[in-house]
């Protein structure tokens, strides 16, 4: 292919209205592109940040709750008796106290 001769190219006649048509086409493409890449509204963005913040709060809350539970489990949820017989004896005493007091109370009504 020979060397491009600009002077010869400039002499080729340009069809009428090509410049306007090209310009209109470029404007149309630009508008279409802008429509596609529409920026997120402030409300949507705020909702996104809020959901992230809420997730963090939830995670921290669950962690804190779990820690509290563990702490209380160490003492309050630990069985006082490791021997079932001892536990039974204590349960028996407690239930006996409840039954005798219920009966004492009812005795006054009989």
């Amino acid at each position: 292919m020979g060397k491009l001769n600009w002077k010869e190219l400039e002499q080729i006649p340009v069809p009428q209205g090509v410049e306007e048509r090209l310009s209109a086409k470029i404007d149309e493409w630009e508008r279409a592109e802008q429509k596609k890449a529409k920026p997120r509204s402030a409300v949507r963005q705020a909702a996104r940040y809020l959901s992230v913040a809420a997730s963090l709060v939830l995670l921290v809350g669950i962690g804190w709750y779990a820690l509290q539970e563990d702490e209380s489990e160490n003492v309050a949820l630990r069985d006082t008796y490791q021997n079932p017989q001892e536990a039974y004896a204590e349960a028996e005493k407690a239930l006996s106290l409840l039954a005798s007091n219920l009966n004492k109370g009812m005795a006054h009504l009989r």
């Binding site: 309050a76 630990r78 349960a91 028996e92 039954a99 219920l102 109370g105 009812m106």
Partner: protein, 163 residues
């Protein structure tokens, strides 16, 4: 992604609910587990089941095996000083008022004043709480489980039948 988030949230919720469900104790009394001058006893559901299976001792008027099967735990708090007795008394009063415990019975005898309260809610277990007040002391017995007022009243019926 949304589905994963929803599933994860549901799983966390279920875990929290089940943790609450197995927490079969009167929470207001738990703090006395490591308080000075207080004897705190906790007998869990598992220990009650194990004990119930091994023993043949019985309490007059109470069908132990049946009651133990329905119980989720027993808490006993005994104050050893007047100061802790006052604090425990205040806590019990506020618990009774806040959670609408029904006074079931009040017995005054030589050993002091005895109060029995009953509390049942649709979601939680039933609690029968007994407080005894010898002079300057206070003991609280909280029986938690899936029993109803009828089971409690049966204790009296069976006792009176024996008399």
């Amino acid at each position: 992604m949304k589905r994963i988030m929803i599933k994860a949230s549901l799983a966390v919720l279920c875990a929290l609910l089940s943790a609450t469900a197995i927490h079969a104790q009167v929470a207001d009394l738990e703090k006395y587990a490591d308080t000075k001058n207080v004897t705190y006893v906790y007998i869990s559901k598992l220990m009650l089941r194990m004990a119930g299976n091994k023993s043949d001792i019985s309490v007059p008027g109470v069908e132990m095996q049946r009651m133990l099967e329905k119980m989720d735990g027993i808490q006993i708090v005994m104050s050893k000083s007047e100061k802790t007795a006052q604090q425990l008394n205040a806590d019990v009063r506020s618990l009774v008022k806040r959670d609408n415990y029904e006074p079931l019975m009040q017995v005054d005898d030589d050993g002091g004043k005895v109060n029995i309260y009953y509390h049942q809610s649709k979601k939680q277990s039933t609690v029968v709480m007994l407080t005894t007040q010898p002079v300057g002391m206070l003991s609280v017995f909280a029986f938690t489980g899936k029993f109803d007022l009828e089971d409690v009243m049966d204790m009296m019926v069976e006792e009176s039948a024996k008399e």
